[in-house]
């Protein structure tokens, strides 16, 4: 089975993730969409590793998972903080940080 189909799925998942980030306003969903994008990349990495017959891609995938875990920890922490301070849970409303 060629690697193309895996990549196709990966690209599809990536686009869904990116589209989600662009259209959704809830920080929680945006984090989820980010996870989708990261995992799309993981899928591509693992697919390439299989196609080339070495383990480098898999190593990368594991590292990406670690990074994703960290990112989620920070992101969820932020969301909890937002919730506690009774701020709107909406990224369009949270825009004080501007030039």
């Amino acid at each position: 089975m060629s690697v193309t189909w895996y990549l196709l799925v990966s690209a599809l998942v990536f686009c869904i993730g990116a589209g989600g980030i662009l259209v959704r306003r809830s920080p929680l969903v945006i984090l989820l969409c980010l996870e989708l994008m990261l995992n799309a990349a993981n899928l591509a990495l693992v697919a390439f590793a299989r196609a080339h017959g070495n383990q480098d891609g898999q190593v990368f995938a594991v590292i990406v998972m670690v990074v994703a875990a960290c990112e989620v920890a920070v992101g969820l922490g932020l969301i909890v903080a937002i919730y506690r301070r009774k701020l709107p849970v909406d990224v369009d409303e949270l825009r004080e940080l501007q030039g």
Binding site: A18, I21, L22, V23, R25, I30, V91, D92, L94, R95, E96, L97, Q98, G99
Partner: protein, 670 residues
């Protein structure tokens, strides 16, 4: 040994200046005058010892380069702390230190009541140090340093009475014109250095032959720029306007700097650079012609000036015109001989004038003077001796030196003969204006000040005032002191003037044509490579005829002055009425000040205003500063606008950017 003496000549005045400067509070003021005088006397003694050492050397080894240390030795530049001891520099050292010693001695009495006494001697010693550095310098670099130092010293001393506005203005004027000369000298040095590749005088003169062809453009340019330096320092047309104004300084300063020594630096410079000028006859011709023009311009102005010191100042310009003409036309020994005699009689005239001014309680106007002959016999005697030497009446020294220059002009032939004739015209004018000054100040009925002085009361004004403007002054520091000192009452002044008077009478014996030629023989080693030096040897009859003509012209001038200002005293007014236009022209000093103002000062001032108001405001502030800051401000506003804080917009940008990148690679991969 000669090395040590060379350094000592420089060290004494410098040590004097520093000692006086540092101990101004610690020692009583009288001591500072003594330190100053003693330092210069010691320098004179060192010069004499150096002279003896030099004369002991064989004839063709009398050019000793004393190298202290290498100042900077890098690619192609050989800057050394080197002094050149040869007959020329020793000659100048003797003149400078000798006359300076006497003038210091005179000043100890003359400046006694001035509140700036200590400062005066510190400046004066500094000046002598600078002048000696100038004449002893063994390379262009030190020459320029000394050249600039004497300019600075001159500025300090002209503006000595620094609360007098006329004095500070005169100082600034002198300094600015001198700096123009400095720039000329530096640029001229560059032109020479470019071709010979060394700053050392002796090496430069050795290489002139190979480096330049006769009248090569660069050499002529270099020599003319050096002449600009010489003209500015020696007050030659058109750089002369500072010298009459420099008379704002104390009278000993006028005697020392603006008559005997500094203003003759230009003459020394041309004589020192003679191998260059002999290879660039065009530049030498410029020097000779400017010398003649100056001597005539200055002599004509001196005919109408009514300020006692300014008459002598114009006469100084005129006499330096003779010297410049002399050294520019290869009459080196004659020019330098005139420098020597002039230093004596002109310093003497200034000292006598200072005595008269003191008797007038600071007034300098000839119109208000008269009849001082009985009240001040000693001053009168000195003034007449100086005047006769200046006018060229035998057997006083001025005749021998001045007429040797003129005789050599005829010997050179060609257009130099015309210069010689013009110089005789100048001689006649010299005799007339000198004795106009003396007769007006000393003869006829005594003015009140003179009559009082005959009874033993020295004039004393209750409220001192500026003689030029009449502004009221006090007598604190920054203005002249309260008391005045005349030669008749002060032994140091009398001694100084006495010695100078003896020199003014007797120095002619050094160089009587075909009898003695001390100066010519002595200076010969310094001009060894000059072909013209030996060639220009007029016959005895030519020299004696020259002397006779000069003497007759001098006597005729004195006689005319006697007729006009003693016998027929209505005549000057009649002549002035008849020649009103000429009188106005001469009183305005040939409109040189106005001309320079129109041609140089005003365009520059206009350019400065344009720079400040237009260029600075529009181009610099508006375009360069304003334009840059507007660009930065606009750019940052655009970048700031992107930072909207709108998270999804950032994401969109990111995605678009990524998409664009991917698209680019896809297309590029094809």
């Amino acid at each position: 040994m000669i090395d040590t003496y060379a350094w000592l000549i420089l060290a004494f005045p410098l040590a004097g200046a520093i000692t006086i400067g540092l101990t101004w509070r610690a020692l009583p003021w009288r001591v500072h005058g003594l330190i100053g005088t003693a330092a210069i006397a010691a320098a004179f003694a060192s010069s004499v010892l150096a002279l003896l050492e030099l004369q002991a050397l064989p004839h063709d080894e009398r050019q000793v380069l004393v190298v202290g240390w290498d100042y900077a030795k890098s690619v192609g530049v050989d800057a050394q702390m080197s002094l050149l001891l040869d007959p020329l520099s020793i000659f100048m050292c003797l003149v400078v230190t000798g006359v300076s010693t006497l003038i210091h001695l005179y000043s100890t009495a003359y400046m006694a009541s001035d509140r700036g006494y200590t400062r005066f001697f510190a400046y004066l010693n500094f000046f002598v140090f600078s002048m000696l550095l100038l004449v002893l310098a063994g390379n262009f670099l030190l020459l320029i340093v000394g050249w600039a130092f004497v300019g600075a010293a001159s500025y300090l001393l002209i503006s000595f009475w620094y609360r007098r506005e006329t004095a500070t203005r005169a100082g600034i004027k002198a300094f600015v014109i001198n700096v123009v000369g400095d720039v000329g000298l530096v640029l001229g040095t560059y032109f020479i250095f470019k071709h010979v590749g060394t700053l050392d005088f002796l090496k430069t003169f050795e290489r002139v032959d190979e480096a330049f062809t006769t009248n090569q453009a660069d050499l002529v340019a270099g020599c003319i720029l050096i002449l600009v330096g010489a003209f500015a320092k020696s007050a030659q047309v058109p750089f002369h306007t500072w010298l009459p104004d420099a008379m704002e300084g104390p009278t000993p300063v006028s005697a020392l700097i603006h008559a005997a020594t500094m203003v003759t630096a230009g003459v020394y410079l041309i004589a020192r650079m003679h191998p260059l000028f002999e290879h660039a006859p065009i530049a030498a011709d410029v020097g000779a012609i400017v010398g003649v023009v100056t001597l005539l311009v200055a002599a004509t102005i001196a005919m109408v000036v009514t300020d006692l010191k300014r008459v002598i100042a114009y006469s100084t310009m005129s006499q330096i015109g003779y010297m410049i003409m002399g050294v520019s036309s290869a009459a080196y020994a004659a020019g330098l001989f005139h420098l020597l005699t002039h230093a004596f009689f002109k310093a003497l005239l200034f000292m006598a004038a200072g005595s008269v001014i003191a008797a007038m309680a600071g007034m300098q106007n000839l119109d208000k003077m008269g009849g001082f002959r009985k009240a001040m016999p000693f001053t009168y005697g000195c003034m007449v001796v100086g005047g006769l030497a200046l006018a060229g009446v035998p057997p006083f020294s001025g005749l021998f030196s001045k007429d040797e220059i003129i005789t050599l002009q005829f010997e050179r032939g060609g257009y130099h003969a015309v210069l010689g004739v013009l110089a005789y015209v100048g001689s006649f004018l010299t005799a007339v204006y000198t004795f106009r000054m003396i007769f007006r100040a000393f003869h006829n009925e005594p003015v009140p000040e003179a009559a009082e002085l005959e009874e033993g009361h020295l004039a004393h004004h209750e409220t001192p005032s500026n003689p030029a403007t009449g502004e009221e002054e006090d007598s604190e520091v920054g203005f002249p002191g309260p008391d005045h000192h005349i030669a008749e009452r002060e032994a140091p002044m009398k001694i100084a003037m006495g010695v100078l008077a003896v020199g003014a009478i007797g120095l002619g014996v050094l160089q009587i044509p075909h009898v003695t030629s001390v100066i010519h023989t002595f200076l010969e080693p310094a001009f060894a490579e000059s072909e013209l030096y030996e060639e220009l040897e007029p016959t005895a009859s030519a020299e004696w005829i020259g002397l006779l003509v000069g003497a007759l012209i001098g006597i005729a001038g004195v006689a005319l002055a006697y007729r006009l200002w003693v016998q027929d005293r209505e005549a000057p007014a009649r002549i002035r009425a008849k020649l009103a236009g000429l009188h106005r022209f001469l009183s305005a000093k040939w409109y040189f000040d106005e001309g320079i103002d129109t041609v140089i000062v005003r365009p520059f001032a206009w350019f400065g205003r344009f720079g400040r108001n237009t260029f600075e405001r529009l181009i610099v502030n508006g375009l360069i500063m304003g334009g840059t800051s507007a660009a930065v401000r606009g750019g940052s506003a655009a970048v700031r606008a992107i930072q909207s804080g709108f998270l999804r917009a950032y994401a969109a940008l990111l995605v678009l950017g990524l998409a664009g990148l991917v698209l680019y690679f896809l297309i590029a991969a094809r």
